[in-house]
């Protein structure tokens, strides 16, 4: 995708945003008209015998001018918002599409709350830029230019006097902005830290209460809150003073214009009404610049949001390759790993892993925590990308599969269960919208979920979600399993799929899976060796290496790591755990 930036935003709604800016400029110019009317009235009234009818006419013109200004302003406002929200809506969809088309591995490390923040909050914050800053900036550039030209034509000396404070104000502004970026980053970082701490405070509230902590003694919560107060204490002086000088100076040209005008008038060089004109317009001439600077400051704050948006948009292109037709759907697929390496943060997580999971058979991956079991499964499920080696499904490399075709054939039950809001039925049907009631129940029965679903007051129509039924971890996991089974995948990946289940259910589930007639290929990780024992093939992982594979009896005889695991599990602990002879508990 091409480089993404401000222009591509504007190009999403060029007409409404462009005309909004045009109307803003026109409205800015119209805002000067009442002063011109007043100038004409001043001329009329300062005559010896004022022409009152003419005055009335100019009053009407003035009213009309004010009306024109506000009408133009309202039109600009509406157009700007139409355009801005249009851009926002489109941008959100583009972000979703970008996420949807990115390789799974790229999204898997991303926190959904952060993504939500980008799609909603960051994109939403563009409203200020598109609907306010943009028209304001257009007006702020053109209106003072026009005003100055006009004043110049009335009297060049007075016009220059009106411009005099500008250089000083600009210098102050530049001084203020210097170092401003670092300060803004500081500020944003502090705000983020504070909200993280507050959320954490809510999350671990049970611990806080049971440990007798409170808002002041919990972690660094009070520190982060106070850090902001201290920061304001330290920097507000400098920052607000710079701002105050800027504001005051921009409207301070009156102190030059007024005496100079009076002096010129006394010398008979300008008329009284011209002096009046300058007194009216000069203080207003530079004021749009105030908005411009303000807008620039805002823009600086928005840069971080823009960067996050473009990072999502730019980073999602996938090579579109020509794919050969995939093998038929209805047969189980063989999975083959050849010399697979995976490194994360310069640490080798998987080291030259090679094995084959034969079609229609169950392969169990066992090993101590941290041996790389889950990582291995994630690689097969395309959630991470291998660093080196090949993974082949049905004889074809994973990256040569069209992603959607590949996903169609995978059933994944991750350790962390995700269910959608809606009924249990909705959640199951997601896997296969056309499934009949019988198929639904059959899958649920295989996953040992049917019984507990039937016990719920509303059965399959029970609602899940934040306010819905509270299912236990095991129940949720069984629902996910049922969902995966319903799809009749060619390769089923189970990551500790029965970790939450009690023994009863774990057994039933495994029996159901092992005995299932459809015979899809199953690759599972498990820490229950009793479960692994029933698998056709066992892979033993230790620190990322395959240290043994084969059947249970073979491994028990040959593989030290497996023997150790088996012994540890055999001596299932009781309290207090059996201690080696002669050793007393080192607790007192």
């Amino acid at each position: 995708m091409k480089k993404w930036g401000l222009l591509s935003l504007l190009a999403m709604a060029p007409f409404s945003l462009g005309s909004a800016s045009l109307f803003a400029v026109l409205s800015g110019l119209a805002s000067l008209l009442p002063f011109y009317c007043l100038y004409r009235i001043a001329e009329l009234l300062s005559a010896a015998t004022p022409d009152l009818d003419a005055v009335q006419d100019w009053v009407l013109y003035a009213i009309f001018a004010v009306l024109l200004r506000w009408t133009l302003m309202s039109i600009s406002h509406c157009l700007a918002h139409l355009g801005a929200f249009d851009v926002i809506c489109r941008l959100r969809l583009r972000l979703l599409d970008a996420l949807a088309n990115a390789p799974l591995s790229r999204n898997s490390g991303r926190n959904s709350a952060d993504l939500r923040k980008v799609v909603m909050d960051d994109v939403g914050s563009l409203e200020g830029m598109l609907a306010h800053t943009l028209p304001d900036a257009a007006a702020a550039i053109f209106v003072p230019l026009f005003t100055f030209t006009y004043l110049l034509s009335a009297n060049w000396l007075l016009a220059l006097a009106a411009l005099a404070p500008l250089p000083i104000a600009v210098v102050i502004q530049i001084l203020m902005l210097r170092g401003g970026r670092a300060q803004i980053n500081d500020w944003n970082a502090m705000q983020t830290r504070m909200s993280t701490r507050l959320l954490e405070y809510l999350r671990v509230m049970p611990m806080i209460r049971s440990f007798g902590l409170d808002a002041r003694s919990f972690g660094q919560l009070a520190d982060t809150v106070n850090a902001i107060v201290t920061w304001v204490d330290r920097h507000s002086g400098r920052m607000s003073i710079g701002w105050a000088w800027f504001v005051v100076l921009l409207s301070a040209n009156l102190i030059l214009v007024a005496p100079l005008g009076a002096w010129l008038h006394a010398r008979g060089e300008v008329s009284a009404s011209t002096v009046v004109l300058f007194l009216l317009i000069a203080p207003l001439m530079l004021q749009p610049l105030m908005r411009l600077t303000f807008a620039l400051g805002e823009q600086q704050r928005r840069n971080a949001a823009l960067a996050r948006i473009s990072a999502l948009l730019e980073n999602t292109d996938m090579a579109v390759a020509e794919y050969a037709p995939p093998p038929p759907l209805d047969s189980p697929h063989t999975l083959e790993l050849r010399n697979v390496y995976f490194t994360r943060d310069a640490r080798t997580v998987l080291d030259n892993v090679t094995f084959t999971a034969v079609a229609g058979q169950t392969t169990a991956i066992v090993g101590a925590s941290g041996a790389g079991k889950t990582t291995l499964l994630r690689l097969i499920a395309c959630l991470d990308e291998i660093s080196d080696g090949d993974i082949l499904l049905a004889g074809r490399e994973l990256r040569d599969w069209p992603l959607s075709t590949l996903l169609e054939r995978l059933g994944v039950v991750p350790q962390e269960v995700f269910l959608f809001r809606g009924s249990i039925r909705d959640n199951l049907l997601l896997a296969c919208p056309s499934a009949t009631e019988d198929q639904l129940c059959e899958a649920a029965k295989l996953a040992q979920a049917h019984a507990f679903i039937e016990r719920l007051p509303e059965g399959y129509d029970t609602l899940l979600g934040e306010r819905g039924a509270q299912l236990s971890g095991g129940e949720r996991q069984r629902l996910t399993l049922a969902r995966a089974i319903l799809r009749k995948p060619c390769l089923l990946l189970l990551d500790e799929a029965t970790a939450h289940a009690d023994n009863d259910n774990a057994n039933l589930i495994h029996q159901a899976l092992l005995g299932s007639e459809d015979g899809c290929t199953v690759v599972m990780t498990t820490h229950r060796l009793r479960t692994a024992q029933q698998a056709d093939h066992i892979i033993v992982l230790d620190a990322g290496c395959v240290v043994g594979q084969g059947h249970h009896d073979h491994l028990l005889a040959e593989c030290h790591v497996y023997q150790k695991l088996w012994q540890d599990q055999q001596s299932t602990m009781s309290w207090p755990p059996p201690l080696p002879d002669g050793e007393s508990p080192q607790c007192s």
């Binding site: 949807a100 440990f211 919990f218 057994n507 150790k564």
Partner: protein
Amino acid sequence: MLLNFLRSGKELAGYTDPRLRRGLAWSVAEAIFAFLPYPLIYIMIDRLLTGTLILDEVVALGIALFLVLIARLFCAHIATPALFRGAYAMMGQARLRIAAHLREVPLGWLSSQHSGALSATLTRDLQIIEELWSHSLGVFCGGLLVPALLSVFLLWMDWQLGLLMLTSLPIALAFLIGGQWVLMRQSDKLANVSTAVNTELLEYLQGMTVLRSLGQQEAYRVRLFHQFSRLRSAAIRLDVWPAPLVGGFGFAVEIGFAIAIGLGVQLLSTGQTTSNNILLFAILALPVYRQLYEVGLAFLLLRFADQALQRTRALLAVRPMAQPATPQQPGHYDITFDAVKFCYPDSSTPTLQGLSFTLESDSLNALVGPSGAGKTTLLQLIARLWDVSEGSIRIGGVDLRDIGSQHLPRYVSMVFQDAQLFSGSILENLRAGAPNARREDIEQVARQAQAHEFISRLPLQYDTLLEENGSNLSGGERQRLSIARALLKDAPIILLDEATASIDATTERSIHQALSCLIQGRTVIIIAHKLNGIRHADRILVMAEGELVAQGDHAWLLGHSPLYAHLWAQERQD
């Protein structure tokens, strides 16, 4: 509304910062100096129009204007930083106060809240209030005071013309109030749509991988497209519908000078005013009243702050758990459940129904039963994370509600299934229960909890910073830290929710070793997932569907509880 807003600061923060008062006072002074050039200009134009201006006066005028400018800057120098410092200090205080308040409300209330909404109030709502406090107080002060002073001055110079000048302001106010009404109605609607969109989007993002693997992404995309379009329409309505009224407000504010001239010239014929006067009024009034438009816009924003304020107030209005006037201390540590019934706030069926039992001091007790039986809830009730719906729980004969939440942690420690670690160093996490613990003691408990070894292997050891929820440690390591923390706290009652997460046998073994240290000489209740581990417990409570179906020791239960016997047989078979 403005007064309401001013009062709210004290209400949220619990005090009024003196700097805020000082800042306001200096803002008033600044406004006066911002106003003073106008009378000076008035005099000058008056002389100019009557042709009586002399050069000395021009010089004097220039000097006077310059001095006023310096004085104004001086005031701003003091006012603005003082306002900022005061406002941020107060809002910082407010945050901590609200956080402290949330600690006292029933946990049930907290978890029944939409977690997103709650954190939004704590962060975004308070930010809105904070920004308005710091940025807008000065705007209101100057923006209202300068036109007000000018009006008084003009009325004093010529009351008839002055009144004419002010005639359009009531109309302007009507426009503003109308605009505000439309805006608020639309913003309520927008807020509803926006919550719905956020919820749906978050769900989509969380389930994106699942949806993709289920091939259902397109269906969700269409749904989200509809939601985004709804949001767009609502947002456009919010900004477009009030636009004519806001425009009308600007028009009415600005039109005063034209009315004054138009009607003022009628007074000329009767000699009640002079043409110079009319001109003077128009010249002074136009730029000043124009500024009122900005103030009006700030008022519209104030409404948003008002909404944020209401949400914050609603948080503070939640009743905290009742605490005893005179906390009582239990003398011993047996635990009695007396006809305890408990129902979650949003649920109609009770989670625990009519539980009665007594657990003796220094005994090891286990809770077993199928998932969903209410075991975790029972543990949480003893830690008084919730209050019982009916019945009572007593420690050493004293009702939990008479011990008081503040003192209860002295008697009860809880080891959570999810460890509940927070970002901070390992040391800080361990010290949570005993802030003054010495380093040797901490290492001692870490050794007992089988945690010292892995901590020592970390590059920064005890000073290693944990990420959120300790995600840079493995599940077993987190569990052992959580056990060490409870050991350090040294409370006589231990509540243990054994982790079910997948842990290999070796890790499990070291965790059990840690636990065996923790349970010595204490009253312990443990939720056990493997019966083998707790078959030596003094008492085993068998639960099913919120009820206590049997209690006794292992041998007795095998003979008398079919459920227990079944669970046991199942585990043997495995």
